[in-house]
Symmetry: C2
Subunit: 329 residues, 2 copies
């Protein structure tokens, strides 16, 4: 657990410190900063000493890579896996005595300068664990397997469907307004496969209207190519909205205006998505998500329930091995 949290903390603080140019011009920080996270977590698990850990981070820095142009393709999830593998390899090499610089982040030819052009000292110096980013501002657990920027709109759409009993066949058009940053990431307006659908506001709105849900079963190539899905996507207008723009970039404000065929109108606004620190998922909601994804992976109902019960009482669990055992299948 400590290794996991160290990895998360190292990744978050590096991400917060590097100049925003890093992400803006194309690097995918999950991949780039994630390599350092994997190295830090692995170094802790392998009980490396301080010097070895420094070297592990430096070897990680020389493997830190990942470009956002690959969003919407299989290479996007590959970023997370490859960066994890690179971090593990970095820690292993360091443990064998592999040498590397002892200052990879802030050095003149190091990560911050090359990959970002600079960094904010105040975001990282004396900030490790003070506070832990995991606790403050906190982390998001996404209820849906699509991009986090789709979540405020999806949260609000589910609420409107539920509260107003909206049925797909009654929908005339839907206007989805956000700040101009969000269409910059949600680039697939007419998705052709499940990977593009995860970066498509139009698909996420359409599938909720049609199915009332958007989990792993809905994000499949087959569903994306369904005629009724494509027809519903044509009813979604994803636009930049002045009010959303004015809300500021620390929010992901999404404004929905649904016009019904009977002339009725339903509107709503969400500044944050379900699962974010501002609107967290409950333990039961996270359990439900786990049950669905575990079912998808074939874990089986008994083992799934065992895992949920043990996580519920994690603080009193005698050993983490008991939790991991049912997950090895």
């Amino acid at each position: 657990m400590l290794a996991y949290h160290l990895g998360v903390e190292v990744e978050c603080k590096i991400s917060e410190a590097i100049d925003p140019r890093h992400y803006q011009t194309g690097f995918h920080s999950t991949a780039t900063c994630g390599t350092f996270a994997a190295a830090a977590a692995s170094a802790k698990l392998m009980r490396l000493d301080v010097e070895q850990t420094l070297r592990a981070l430096s070897i990680a820095g020389s493997q830190s890579a990942g470009l956002r142009e690959n969003f919407g393709t299989m290479t996007k999830p590959f970023h997370a896996g490859r960066s994890s593998e690179s971090g593990v390899a970095a820690a292993q090499l360091a443990s064998y005595g592999w040498t590397a610089t002892d200052k990879i982040l802030e050095a003149p030819r190091g990560f911050f300068r090359a990959a970002g052009g600079g960094y904010d000292e105040n975001a990282i110096l004396d900030k490790l664990g003070a506070p832990w980013t995991f606790a403050q501002p906190g982390i998001s657990i996404k209820p849906h397997p699509s991009g986090s920027l789709t979540h405020p709109g999806m949260t609000e759409m589910r609420r409107l469907i539920r509260e107003h009993g909206i049925k797909a066949e009654n929908v005339h058009r839907v206007r989805v307004g956000t700040n101009h940053n969000m269409p910059n990431a949600l680039i697939h307006h007419r998705p052709e496969n499940e990977l593009q659908a995860k970066f498509s506001m139009e698909f996420c709105m359409a599938i909720l209207l049609l199915e009332g849900r958007a989990g792993l079963n809905e994000f499949t190539d087959e569903v994306v190519r369904r005629a009724d899905v494509k027809a519903m996507i044509e009813k979604i207008d994803f636009v930049v909205d002045d009010e959303a723009e004015a809300a500021g970039y620390d929010r992901m404000t999404t404004i929905l205006d649904i016009t019904l065929k009977n002339g009725g109108k339903v509107s709503g606004r969400a500044d944050f998505g379900k699962g974010s620190p501002a609107n967290p998922m409950s333990f039961d909601e996270v359990s439900d998500k786990f049950r669905e994804t575990a079912g998808f992976a074939g874990l089986g109902e008994d083992k799934t329930s065992d895992v949920v019960a043990m996580v519920r009482d994690l603080e009193t669990l005698a050993s983490i091995d008991r939790l991991l055992a049912p997950l090895r299948f």
Copy 2:
């Protein structure tokens, strides 16, 4: 052979096109652009079609990494190996149908913008193979296993030693003057191991004065730590020189001024190192280098001579397999 040359050409043209910020701020282009090279060569060897090759290059782009802060450590040569492995993996993934963007270099969130801030269209559009960089301006083969920036000085030092019969015990001091860019890369003034020695002008000068040669046998931790080597290093003044600075950055001008204990002075200047296109190694000189390194790797004299003979008559060799056979050991 074609795959090799395609790889070299792709790497060179990408390196020439990306904004110089890329290297200046810390990326190591051998590693970063080398990933594309390995992907291109692998794609050709695996006979991938155009679409697969585009994807291979894009998967390579998301693994393109390597920071110069790790120069002088084991992680520097690791850059070449890891980038090659990443390129091979990229081509293999593409061959399995792995998806990626079809435009990784010039796209808004692609390699040139993220890793360089831009690129020079004129350096890459319609320039592949026109001319092949391998032929024009041509490539360097380094006679010594140290950084290329050490080579003009080493070439001139060897010439002065030979022509003036300079002996180590008669040397009072040596002044080595270059432009200010060279000390920026040759950062190890008092090297402690062979990896640092490869980026140390002082060591390279000292070992030539002491041994008259600087091959793999001289770049060892044991030699670097010898008392006579350390003493000779103290006699070398590596400085920025006005005349070298004025020569321009397309040269690696190095000016040597050797003061002898008897009061005599010997001076010389080299603008390019032995092995560069301006001062190429002869076939026999390259053969000698191969014999030394092959001996170091334990190839054996017979096989070594076979390889040299086959390369000498490469144009008439029936199959490349005959050349590779003795190298598999």
